[in-house]
């Protein structure tokens, strides 16, 4: 069952991503990216990562795509300014290189004995991916600090630098 869900959402994800690249109108591209985010959320859900799936839709499809649309509005592109790039045969060279590299990675991973053993013996805790499981990793339990408690605090510094960076970039006079 799980593998069919993966194929379904994986195909949708790749298709919408390709459409996002090929569209001339940037708004159409953004809409395609939004649907690719939904497919990605489906893959997360298929891997039992429910909290991540919901956050993917909430933050990425909700907030970050709004920001993308804002940026497109800021650019104020006219139809005449849309990309006029045509398909060229030499574009196939990087594509072929990417495909060869990807095929190498995939064959290396699927042949690896250690990964195969790990996958065969992998056992997830029953609450894997739930909101409370994520929380215990971040905040610990009643008598110990969580595995990612320090990283969680570092995230606040990352967000702080994002705030300062946005202000410095967009404000005319500091």
């Amino acid at each position: 069952m799980g593998v069919y869900i993966f194929y379904l959402f994986g195909t949708g994800l790749i298709a919408t991503s390709i459409v996002a690249i090929l569209m001339k109108n940037p708004v159409h591209s953004v809409l395609s990216v939004v649907s690719s985010f939904f497919f990605l959320a489906g893959i997360y859900a298929g891997l039992s990562m429910q909290f991540l799936a919901v956050i993917q839709i909430l933050v990425y499809a909700g907030a970050i795509m709004v920001l993308f649309i804002f940026i497109i509005m800021l650019f104020d592109l006219q139809k005449s300014e849309y990309s006029k790039d045509r398909f060229l045969w030499r574009d196939l060279v990087p594509l072929a290189l990417i495909l060869i590299t990807a095929a190498g990675f995939i064959s290396a991973i699927s042949r690896s004995e250690s990964i195969k053993n790990y996958v065969a013996n992998a056992k997830l805790p029953s609450n894997f991916g739930s909101v409370s499981a994520v929380s215990f990793e971040f905040f610990g339990t009643s008598n110990s600090v969580g595995r990612f408690s320090f990283l969680f605090e570092v995230i606040s510094i990352l967000l702080l630098s994002a705030i300062v960076g946005a202000v410095v970039l967009a404000k005319r006079k500091l």
Binding site: V3, D76, L159, A166
Partner: protein, 137 residues
């Protein structure tokens, strides 16, 4: 080869949670939402009475000049600033969901951790406030 690998990966990962039963309510909700949305559109297209007239076909605009050609006006950078600030504080709130759910089980430790997290972000909030980003001048 790759297919077997993929199958074993996804099967073992999804073993602990039976996918069909866990997500069935969500799938049903999505299906019902699609049926309602497209069903209403289809009903109004096929079953609704149609008396087209010139006035009805005229584009309806509210609070905007009629016949304005460029609907994509240049937008102020302030919209972008508001969007960025929303995004950052949105991400901050995302971390409070799991915190709030397990707060009773974890207790004081998580309270202290969240206070450190928020106090660092309050510095950014004060910075934004002092720089006048929150004002629309």
């Amino acid at each position: 080869m790759f297919k077997i690998f993929l199958m074993s990966t996804t099967e073992s990962l999804s073993k602990s949670l039976d996918l069909t039963t866990t997500y069935l309510p969500i799938v049903m909700m999505i299906v019902v939402a699609l049926i309602v949305a497209f069903g209403m559109l289809a009903l109004s297209i096929f079953a609704g009475p149609k008396y087209p007239s010139k006035a009805k076909e005229y584009p309806f605009e509210c609070g905007w000049l009629l016949d304005s050609k460029d609907t994509k006006r240049k937008h102020s950078i302030k919209f972008y600033m508001v969007a960025i600030m929303f995004l950052i504080f949105d991400l901050e709130i995302v971390f409070m969901y799991p915190w709030a759910i397990t707060f009773r089980q974890i207790g004081l430790v998580s309270l202290v951790e969240m206070f450190i997290f928020l106090s660092i972000l309050v510095v950014g909030y004060i910075y934004v406030w002092k720089k006048g980003i929150l004002e629309w001048d």
